[in-house]
């Protein structure tokens, strides 16, 4: 579904992405893992076209994404820090996104809006929201239009345990529908029952891309967190 070939991106002298090549297929749930500042978010933003890559190319469903915008109809993105126009209310933000995305075939997917109880908060202004509520709004927006690809940047950071569990159930449900889910997270224990593959990045380079079973077998660990710690220590 996504094929990235030799993608590089420099911010000044910093190499945010260094010759990254990766292939992601439908029905997978892939965890992007790596230390802070290793280029996870830059990779995600390159896929979304928010960051313009210096070299290499990325294709989405066989189309080169450069100078293309239509492909984003199939992507739901939940940013690390959801920032919305401060003077709008939650209801207005949701309506605006429905209006802009205008999902022609399917009805908007409002499961998360309902389960997070956002219905009762529609009149709240964005500037008054707590970090966790913002995170809920971001998640609801990402799932709103039933996209084929979900990109979730630190989805559970700041969410309370109940909401975080709801979000995880939703992610698993979407994955089982045959969608591709890309997740970055530092809370590895949460990813255990979620992900099927792991991409490990360091200093802008892609270190490995393995299925979770292969990773556990290679390191001889049962838990993902232990396995990753094992990998990071051995480097």
């Amino acid at each position: 579904m996504i094929i990235a070939s030799n993608v590089s991106k420099n911010f000044g002298r910093l190499k945010a992405l260094d010759n990254v090549s990766v292939t992601c297929n439908k029905g997978e749930c892939i965890a992007l893992i790596g230390p802070n500042g290793c280029g996870k978010t830059t990779l995600i933003k390159s896929i979304l076209g928010m960051v313009v890559t210096d070299s290499g190319f990325i294709t989405f469903n066989g189309q080169n994404i450069k100078r293309n915008w239509k492909y984003r109809e199939n992507i739901g993105y939940m940013p690390q820090i959801g920032r919305y126009p401060e003077s709008m209310t939650i209801g207005q933000v949701l309506d605006m996104m429905k209006d802009i995305r205008g999902s022609k075939d399917a009805l908007p997917d409002e499961d998360l809006i309902n389960s997070f109880g956002l219905k009762h908060m529609m009149a709240k202004r964005v500037r008054t929201l707590s970090g966790g509520t913002r995170q809920k709004v971001s998640a609801a927006l990402a799932f709103l239009v039933n996209p084929d690809l979900l990109i979730l940047d630190e989805p559970t950071a700041g969410l309370d345990p109940v909401s975080s569990e709801m979000l995880k159930e939703k992610i698993i449900a979407e994955k089982n529908k045959g969608k591709l889910v890309l997740i970055t997270s530092h809370i590895l224990s949460e990813l255990d029952d979620l992900v099927s593959q792991v991409i490990f990045m360091q200093d802008g380079k892609l270190c490995f891309h393995k299925s979770i079973l292969a990773l556990k077998a290679d390191t001889g660990e049962e838990k993902l967190s232990k396995a990753i710690a094992n990998v990071m220590l051995s480097r």
Binding site: F11, K45, L48, G49, M50, V51, V52, W69, K70, Y71, R72, E73, I75, Y77, P79, R83, Y84, P85, S87, M88, M96, M97, D99, I100, R101
Partner: protein, 255 residues
């Protein structure tokens, strides 16, 4: 594109500054026209105020608005929208609101008290200046990532266009007083939309007789239909060129 323009305009209207600006222009224009017994004289006083205030408010408001909507832009860029659509919608929304504020604030009094060719020229110049400085502010805002730097640049640009440019022209004129610079001066005005508007409006007034020999040269050029058409195109290119440059920059910007 219409949808985004709609959301930009709603957002700007929710901002009380725009309402304040309109009221401020309205109060100033009405009081000037009521203070002078001759409304043509009132127009002259209004000219000087408008040529200072309109560019300043257009520049500052647009630049600050672009910086403050960075999160909104980020949100839009991750959606299935062309960057061109996003940027041009932002420009259209800002330009429409600034022009509309001028139309209500200064346009209505001008039409009420002085609906002459001079008045219409001033209305047209004010509307064009509003849009021109939105375009320039957006170029500055897309070039400088840092908010403080961008707003500083915008203030310097305003100083340049309203004060420094005239000073430079005067300096050159005095230094080269022995040479015939009149025709060159006509060309030089193209580099400052504020000066160009001022000359266009002044030439419509009787006071142009006071401008001496250079005034006569200006009248020879700007007084004709060709001169008017050329100046109009110069002013429009002050909108088109900055917008085109900022659009090119925005298309490759990392958000």
């Amino acid at each position: 594109m219409k949808k985004i323009i709609k959301y930009v305009i709603i957002d700007i209207l929710r901002n009380k500054i725009m309402l304040g600006y309109t009221l401020f222009l309205l109060v100033i224009s009405l009081s000037i026209f009521n203070l002078e017994d001759n409304s043509a004289k009132g127009l002259l006083s209004l000219l000087n105020i408008i040529l200072i205030i309109v560019p300043l408010v257009s520049l500052l408001f647009s630049a600050i608005y672009v910086y403050n909507s960075s999160e909104f832009l980020e949100l839009l860029v991750s959606q299935p929208l062309k960057r061109k659509t996003i940027w041009l919608s932002l420009f259209s929304g800002l330009a429409t609101s600034m022009a509309f504020a001028f139309l209500i604030g200064a346009g209505v009094p001008i039409l009420l008290y002085e609906a002459t060719p001079t008045g219409f020229m001033m209305l047209g110049a004010g509307l064009l200046l509003s849009v021109i400085f939105v375009a320039i502010a957006m170029l500055a805002a897309v070039m400088a990532r840092d908010k403080a730097k961008g707003i500083g640049v915008v203030i310097l640009l305003w100083l340049y266009f309203s004060i420094i440019f005239d000073g430079l022209v005067l300096f050159v004129l005095f230094q080269f007083a022995d040479y015939p610079l009149e025709n060159i001066m006509v060309g030089v005005t193209a580099f400052n939309p504020i000066d160009l508007s001022r000359i266009l409006i002044l030439l419509k007034m009787d006071v142009s007789a006071l401008m001496g020999y250079t005034g006569a040269i200006f009248k020879d050029f700007f007084g004709t239909r060709l001169g008017l058409i050329v100046s109009f195109f110069v002013l429009v290119s002050w909108v088109v060129i900055p917008t085109w440059l900022s659009l090119r920059k925005f298309k490759h910007k990392d958000l």
